[in-house]
Amino acid sequence: MKKVIIIGGGAAGMQTALRLAERGIEALILEKEAEAGGKLRGWHALFPTFTPAEEVLTELRRRIEEKKIEIRTRSEVRSLTPKSVTLADGQRLDCDAVVLASGFTLFDAAIKEEYGYGLYDNVFTSADIERMLNEGRVARADGSAPRRIALLHCVGSRDEKVCQQHCSRVCCITGVKQAMELKQRFPEADIFNFYMDIRMFGPGYEEMYREAQQKCNVHFVRGRISEAAPTLDGRIQIKAEDTLTGRPLRMSVDMLILLVGMRANDDSAALAESAGLQRSPSGFMAPRDHFLHNVESNVEGIFYAGTVTAPKNIGETLNEAIAAADAAADYLNE
């Protein structure tokens, strides 16, 4: 029986494995974390439907168990070839093809020092908010409820200064989603989204955006926050230009939420090196082409699924996983 190693146990990895199983091919998932699930773990609800991430994850896990697919956790990959994968501990696993589904890394907001993440209380990232939502307790550092919240788009995206020129696509809609979730929790709070461009590319996204504006009275300010500073009463004073009025804008908020972007994994360079894979300027893996071979790498027998090639949402990721699995299966059945 042919065997495929899938690097990465997130949504993409699991879906790929399931599809391969359907195609009668043995799949082994390698997950570097202690538990499979990838970024879906610790995410609260998925846009645009507010479907609990847990729901999707549990179902995927259930199917994996049902299909008795092996997941090896705590196994980080050092290098790979189409026929073998070497783990960090030097152990070498042989296979007939590899699907790279190692996903992305969240941008470290602390790098944008001027926003004061990890420096002032009450500056959070979108990931923190998802965590808090899961814990069922969203609050300021002192436990009080926020009366005014600002969400800043494009943190670590479209920013030459941190060498992340690409657009992470999903932050816009995440900002809208979180604004609505927060509004629901704190109906009294005023919520402001600071954006450069609003990119609502997915089905139902634009509608959600409208709803946030119309139903939830979320304010959208076209301007990028440039500085954040603490105030005496422990709030955050932010500075931006309200570009639509052409005037500098200052306001104090109880919470500043940074919508952190997706960036390529730190080890992607090393992996690409080991297998001779091509990467795009953004650091993500580059598919053979963007149309007819967009789940195949430039190396025969190595395939891509999910955000390892570019920022994507969960839906796109799951679809791509199937495509990748089929491509791998066809390759093996040749």
Binding site: E114, C154, R158, D159, E160, K161, M196, D197, R222, G223, R224, I225, S226, E227, K239, A240, E241, D242, T243, G246, R247, P248, L249
Partner: protein, 111 residues
């Protein structure tokens, strides 16, 4: 040759009339500093601007107007800039903003 004063004058149109504006200087500026074209108008420059916090000076607005061929007063506006460089430090497009200020002043100085 206004011969009669009726007690009012013809208000000038507010529209940016790109047909009428002479874009030569604007083209020269963009030719020497193509990166200026990459501005996405996020306003970071204006938000951090040291001069902009003390005056009405709005770097983004002025250079955008200049790109449209609206040179009137641009030189005087740019003269408010202190060239401190904060804007260059925050520009997500990595535009050489200080260079832009000096270039615009150089090109429009003789207006």
């Amino acid at each position: 040759m206004a011969s009669i004063n009726f007690g009012y004058t013809i208000s000038k149109p507010r529209a940016i009339d790109v047909d009428r504006n002479n874009l030569r200087r604007s083209d020269e500026i963009l030719h020497e500093m193509p990166e200026l074209q990459t501005c996405i108008g996020c306003g970071s420059c204006t938000a951090v601007c040291t001069a902009g916090n003390l005056t009405e000076f709005n770097f983004r607005r002025v250079h955008t107007l200049v790109r449209r061929g609206e040179y009137q007063g641009a030189y005087e506006e740019m003269n408010k800039c202190m060239l401190c460089g904060k804007c260059r430090l925050v520009c997500p497009r990595g535009i050489n903003t200080r260079g832009v200020v000096m270039l615009i002043k150089h090109k429009l100085g003789d207006l």
